[in-house]
């Protein structure tokens, strides 16, 4: 993966700059404070920091935005994780009676990592990704985002690039944050189709009737399948991978056909014939598509209320890329290699200002200089569009909170 401009050893020099001038503290705090509706919601939130030399400190917590800012600027974490909202302040967890310190709420989160797809990627393996296999993430986001909204009725799903080889989703609706462990695991299982580890060849089993959720998911997969699997991964081109596909329970003789897309058409029609001729329906074509493309979730991450997940706008120490929100309106254009690295944006800061900017600057008085300067700062970098996206996500949350409040007070008026 070409990260030519980023050198991990420069991190100690860049992080102070990043946290002082670029990290979007204001929307970040507004996000996690959730309007301050619930008492101590922000104060009881666990943060954990990974510092230099992999020193890991858990149970950090902060009273307000300025304390958060000050501490982050002091500690300059290599990585930030967000945990649950606890019953007490996490930094005082040692002082409360054991057993009474409990995780109460957290966003419903999902973690999708490319390494879980190694058996169906031929382009890369392990931590490597390329634009070909990134399609898998696109498919994953499309499928899960649809289900979270339409099936589960959630409205505030924040999708974030992990900085290296995967994506995270933060579902922030109040109802999602209140889900029990049992409910989280039920949601995650509803959304999981690919089962079994190294020892299982056939990882997707469909049976009749096919649930509407699976149908919807198949529609997404179908949009990408031939482009991704047939052309990109060439799953039907050489003997070895054909065997692998056919091990998934099909006897097809399409050797005479060389074109992968046509081979696939044959395979499908074969399945179709089988289906109409025998009583027991076969869904081999669908199962293959799903096994190759369906999102693979880490259920454990979603299940636990107290599970930690890397924070948006944290830096990935290996690649230097910022964990930025993903704009679903332009999902197909999202390119992980275009995501700015910390070195890039710090460099952009140092570039001489344009005359317009200068002019604007002299116009403004220096009142609340600090905050304004920070806003101006990130606006001059390629982080700008991601902060803007994040801002509008937080605004969306605020809007529906206000809507709820209005509804409540209207109800009260009626009585």
């Amino acid at each position: 993966m070409p990260v030519s401009d980023y050198d991990p050893t420069s991190l100690p020099d860049l992080l102070p700059l990043y946290y002082r001038r670029l990290f979007p503290f204001s929307p970040y705090y507004r996000w996690l404070n959730y309007g301050g509706v619930t008492k101590n919601y922000f104060q009881n939130r666990e943060f954990s920091f990974t510092l230099r030399d992999d020193i890991y400190v858990r149970y950090q917590s902060f009273s307000n935005q300025s304390e958060l800012e000050k501490e982050m600027q002091k500690m300059n974490p290599y990585k930030i994780d967000i945990g649950a909202v606890y019953s007490h302040r996490p930094n005082q967890h040692n002082t409360v009676k054991s057993g009474s310190f409990q995780a109460l709420e957290k966003e419903l989160v999902f973690d999708i990592d490319m390494t879980d797809y190694d058996d169906v990627r031929s382009c890369c393996s392990a931590a490597d990704i390329c634009s070909k296999c990134w399609t898998l993430m696109t498919i994953a986001i499309r499928i899960l985002d649809r289900a979270l909204r339409e099936d589960f009725g959630f409205r505030h799903c924040l999708w974030v690039y992990s900085g290296r080889r995967g994506v995270h989703c933060w579902v922030c609706d109040p109802a999602a944050r209140k889900l029990s462990v049992a409910a989280r695991s039920a949601v995650a299982e509803y959304l999981s189709l690919v089962k079994g580890g190294e020892e299982t060849v056939k990882k997707v089993q469909l049976s009749d009737p096919i649930h509407p959720f699976i149908k919807e998911s198949l529609m997404v997969v179908e949009r990408y399948f031939s482009q991704y699997a047939l052309a990109g991964q060439d799953i039907l081109s050489n003997k070895e991978s054909v065997d692998k596909v056919l091990a998934l329970d099909l006897v097809a003789y399409f050797q005479s056909e060389k074109n992968p897309t046509k081979r696939w058409e044959r395979l499908k029609s074969l399945v179709h014939q089988k289906r109409t001729s025998s009583k027991k329906a076969t869904h081999a074509d669908k199962e293959i598509m799903l096994q190759y493309c369906y999102p693979r979730l880490d259920v454990n991450v979603s299940k636990g209320v107290n599970h930690l997940l890397k924070s948006p706008f944290s830096v990935h120490p290996k690649t230097g890329r910022i964990s930025v929100p993903i704009d679903l309106r332009e999902l197909d254009q999202f390119d992980p290699f275009q995501v700015p690295t910390i070195s890039l944006i710090c460099e952009e800061l140092d570039r001489p200002r344009s005359t317009e900017e200068e002019a604007e600057e002299t116009k403004e008085n220096e009142k609340d200089a600090g905050e304004k300067r920070k806003i101006r700062d990130y606006k001059r970098t390629s982080l700008a569009k991601y902060v803007k996206l994040f801002d509008s996500f937080v605004e969306g949350l605020e809007r529906s909170r206000k809507g709820e409040l209005l509804k409540k007070s209207d109800l009260q008026k009626e009585f």
Binding site: D151, G153, S185, A186, E189, Y190, P209, P212
Partner: protein, 533 residues
Amino acid sequence: MQANLFQGRRVSCFRRFQAHNMQFTKRKKAIGNYQAELYGHCLQFYGQPPVENISLSEFETFAVERLKLLKTVENLGVSYVKTSEQYKKKMEVEISSLNFPYRTEVDDRKPLTGPTEYEKRRKDHISHFILRLAYCQTEDLRRWFIQQEMDLFRYRFTDLPSKFKSDFLHRNNLHYDTISSEEKENLMDKLVHSTFTVSGTTVVEQDFYKVPFQDALDLVRTRKVFLKGGYAYIPHQDIVTIVLNDFRTRLSKALALTARSLPAVQSDERLQPLLSHLSHAYVGQDYSIQKNVGKISLEQIDPLSAKSFPLCMRQLHKALRENHHLRHGGRMQYGLFLKGIGLTLDQALQFWRAEFVKGKVDADKFDKAYAYSIRHMFGKEGKRTDYTPYSCMKVILSNPPSQGDYHGCPFRHSDPELLKQKLQSFKISPAGINQILELVKGMHYQLACQKYFELTHGIEDSGFSLNHPNQYFVESQRLLTGGKEVKREADTPRGGQGVPANKGADAPLDKPANPAQAAAEVTEDLDSLFQDD
């Protein structure tokens, strides 16, 4: 048991329930009338506490029998798939043999033998409330009780003919939002495809309920329901899911309330010991305090490990002897087991030290790095929690072994091929091995282990249901050293233990976990607790 002793003494602990019952004042009707109403259906939602006073002896009998029932429910739940025919059959047999209601007809004629339907229903009602008193005290007890009561309820509700189901809902004021026929029409296709046995016509015919998906997690998890906008659309045939959810919510609230008013009950010196006895009886798995502490010498461990240790412990023992080391997971699982079979702290220290120093650890390092955690297991360090030996469930479900680990359950965590070889090396017959592997394949690990027990002890039916490695040990020792009489005792269901009917039995199970309480209770039988002043 001297039943006559209690004659004339009556208990009215249920007032405690009424104290927080909103409908208390409405209940001025004649009691007889009220009860006919109360027991009008064979299944209850336990909304109203009993209003009558009952004798202490009845109190005790009812409690013990329900406890037996719940223990059976638990055992069947780990041994069979809950939807299987076998499970249903066994449940039916157990429920009727313990004289709890399971038939749907109201039959007021006096049966030739046994109690009337009314008596059964009354027992069902009262015994449930007694156990609420006993099982509201800690989080663990509550969880166990709720789980078993839910399984019992699920079985009984599912078993009802549909007319009785509606009647049940109606009587208990359970109304759930149904969707309109237009909505049904619009969603027809999706509704048909979301449920296995629903076709177009049955969609039209039956009601669909619309509930927040959080109230139907079992259906959501298995994708057996249609979801839209955060709501689950549940066909009437699956209504048990919603009812059960309601049942759990109410029961857990009720238990929390009962716990709050419990101090009053506990101050009743006749009830308190009985209740605490009852609640300790469930544990069936509390092997933390043993009668035979110090009765085992270190030399015996090797032969015992071959004869009376379950496979998981035998494997750990062997690994320890061979490598002179065990990693943390193994030390915990094996160390607590050894404590459970009766090793003293000193013996344990000596045992582990002797083995570790043969390996890479010298005595000094052992004392610095490992002794602490062993004392910890015995509650002598740190928070002084008395660690309880792991149950099979815990071994099977939590902390799976990884590279370099020997802990876990061999039936669950070994490759079947390796397991087979191991069993062959223990001279298990090929037919026996096949039986075991079949059970493993069906994920019935404890049953596989039990089969192994039967094969290695040369018996047909072990007569207990295995849920703890220490239980395996106790049962094995009973067979090998206890002789016939003790063997018979082992046949009584677990739930029977810890109650006076069994007082002759060697029942390590009924000792409370708290040593202080143990001291107070070991010497006393229930009988003596109820002696008149």
